[in-house]
Amino acid sequence: MKVLTGNDLPTGDVIWWTGNGWSRHIEDARDVADQGESIARAEEGARHVTGPYVIDATVTADGPRPAHIKDRVRALGPTVRPDLTLKPADPNAGSWVI
């Protein structure tokens, strides 16, 4: 699947395209198929996102899993600071990245 991601303009937070908006949780991301570039242009023009780009991801029972480790780190947070990730209560969250 293809997933659209970028950063929230005022906060810089990593965000994912949900089909009708943006979420900070990759579990909410939806397949943009071949529409990623056009959605990105429109959303960037509306200042809903900065630096948008499309990535490859696989479909899993827990939601999309980015193909590249860099985007998995972006999706979770720094593996060396579990307390600062999106899943601070899950001690095994980092294994999803690796």
Binding site: N7, D13, G51, A67, R74, G77, T79, V80
Partner: protein, 543 residues
């Protein structure tokens, strides 16, 4: 320490308001990201893996307690309670909001700090010896010259759009504690026949094409130094390649021209520059020099030995060095606890270091390129009190220059350029070698880790270097041996095929075992490697 005059303060204040307006226009959609990006980078604001990252300049690594406390305040108020001290003697914050960045810069300006020229193709923060003003072996305080260069390079109109970023280091001792020859320009202040001047090295650097700077001028008098540096930059600005980012650094120009031809062009340019009257008048030089006058040291009589305390004694032996003033010591605070993140400090720890500087070090601190903090002027009689306070805050690892005193870039945990994570590897190695006795037995061993070829973790200059790469989507780590950023500068060589994350920890242990087995009396790891060459290490690693 240098104190801003009205000109310094006004240009920094004006820059804050200019950036506030730029951010406002960006958030209002009046300028695009393509238009805004170079503007935010000129103010040290990057967009990194998780958020905006702000890099704050610490000129030549020197700051006072008030400034340090401000860094803690920013970590607490605008970030997530911590900051990361870098190999450029700066500090970075990883979780900055664009909408708050102007307020941060305004707060920094109140303590004579900023983020100007911490990014972009300009002259970056001038780096220097972290022991400047305290070291017994210096011929002058290099910060006077670093400050002069800071003023000259700030908003220098001719050098604001260089072919590529440009880094300058100034030292004033034969012992190189600033990796001077791995800078675009390295200056070593020296005395010749009673005259102060500088040796000028140009064209060093790390990154994808590491080079040790050749000596371009064996002596330029202090009166001509600034003009000579300007001439070095002019030749680069004129002929440096702008067509290929990977060949744009000055080291490539000098490599392609040859040092002799580059030197000839600089000498020619110097004649033209010198006529412009760029070098500072004596009154201005004296004004700056006065601000770096040594503090008023006390005179101590014979001091009683303190009661033995193994932990304190180990820290004192490893983390302090002799001061030029009898009765004082230079303290290096390690930001490398076992299993910690190299260079990170919490807001509370930053506040504590500010307090200790004010109470025990004439209100001075230094950031080191090895990502530690220095209290440069501590009375020997105060060392136990300093250690006690540091120990209570987790800031007393006794490991300076030992294997766990690792330089590591932020790597893939934070950096959008990285190919692999650096910090977890540093944590695993430090944990593997956690036994203090084992570390001390290994002796001086500088281990440096980068998460990509840009080499922010200085892996080329590590006695042991590690480079993280992306191998078909998986993190892989190359091992390098034999580098040095010191006065015996050398570039590390790759041992062979890379290793997994756990494999690289084993590989480090393997090469240290070779060292322990083969070393001769008094040899450091680096010395043994240089005597034996790569073969015995490769044999142990790969069979």
């Amino acid at each position: 320490m240098y104190k801003y005059d009205q000109y310094d303060q006004s240009i920094v204040d004006a820059r804050v308001e200019e950036f506030r307006d730029q951010v406002k226009r960006r958030l209002a959609g009046q300028i695009t990201e393509d238009q805004f990006k170079p503007l935010r980078l000129m103010n040290g604001l990057y967009l990194q893996l998780h958020a905006y990252m702000l890099r704050v300049a610490v000129p030549y690594g020197t700051l006072d307690g008030r400034q340090m406390r401000m860094l803690g305040h920013i970590a607490r108020k605008y970030d997530r309670g911590y900051g990361h001290f870098t190999t450029r003697q700066n500090i970075q914050y990883n979780w900055i909001k664009l909408s708050e960045a102007p307020d941060i810069l305004a707060e920094l300006a109140t303590v004579e700090m900023h983020a100007i020229q911490t990014s972009g193709n300009c002259i970056r923060n001038i780096s220097s010896d972290q022991f400047a003003g305290a070291a017994a072996d210096e011929v002058a305080d290099p910060r006077v010259w670093a400050e002069l260069l800071r003023q000259w390079s700030t908003f220098h109109p001719e050098f604001s759009y260089l072919p590529r970023k440009f880094k300058i280091a100034v030292i004033a001792a034969d012992e190189d504690r600033a990796a001077m020859r791995l800078h675009d320009i390295g200056i070593q202040l020296v005395q010749r026949d009673g005259v102060l001047g500088g040796r000028i090295f140009v064209g060093g650097g790390m990154g994808r094409t590491p080079m040790i700077a050749p000596e371009i001028k064996d002596f330029i008098t202090a009166d001509d130094l600034l003009s000579y540096v300007e001439a070095c930059l002019r030749v680069y600005n004129r002929y440096g390649r702008r067509d290929n980012i990977y060949k744009a650094r000055i080291k490539i120009l000098i490599h392609e021209l040859g040092a002799d031809e580059y030197r000839r062009q600089v000498e020619e340019e110097f004649v033209a520059v010198k006529a412009l009257g760029l070098d500072p008048p004596k009154a201005e030089f004296d004004r700056i020099t006065k601000m770096f006058a040594p503090p008023t040291f006390a005179t101590f009589g014979p001091q009683a030995d303190t009661a033995p305390n193994p932990a304190f004694d180990a820290w004192r032996a490893q983390n302090t060095v002799a001061h030029k003033q009898p009765g004082y010591a230079i303290v290096t605070i390690s930001l490398k606890p076992t299993g910690g993140i190299p260079g990170d400090a919490t807001a509370d720890q930053i506040d504590l270091m500010a307090d200790l500087a004010e109470r025990f070090s004439f209100n001075e601190l230094r950031v080191t390129h090895a990502q530690n903090i220095v209290l440069p002027h501590v009375a020997v009689s105060d060392l136990h009190d300093v250690w006690t306070a540091l120990d209570a805050a987790g800031l007393a690892p006794a490991n300076i220059d030992l294997i766990s005193d690792i330089i590591a870039c932020p790597g893939l945990d934070y950096c959008s350029l990285a190919n692999a994570r650096s910090i977890p590897v540093a944590q695993k190695i430090a944990t593997r070698f956690a036994d203090p006795e084992r570390q001390r037995d290994l002796g001086e061993l500088k281990l440096k880790i980068s998460g990509c070829i840009n080499a922010c973790g200085h892996h080329h200059a590590g006695h042991i270097g590690i480079l993280g790469v992306d191998k078909k989507g998986t993190e892989n780590y190359q091992l390098l041996l034999g580098g040095s950023g010191a006065e015996d500068a050398s570039l590390a060589r790759i041992t062979g095929p890379g290793f997994s994350e756990d494999g690289i920890v084993d590989a480090v242990e393997t090469v240290t075992n070779v060292y322990l087995d083969k070393r001769e009396a008094g040899e450091r790891f680096l010395d043994t490697y240089r005597r034996l060459g790569m073969d015995p290490f490769k044999e142990a690693l790969y069979g």
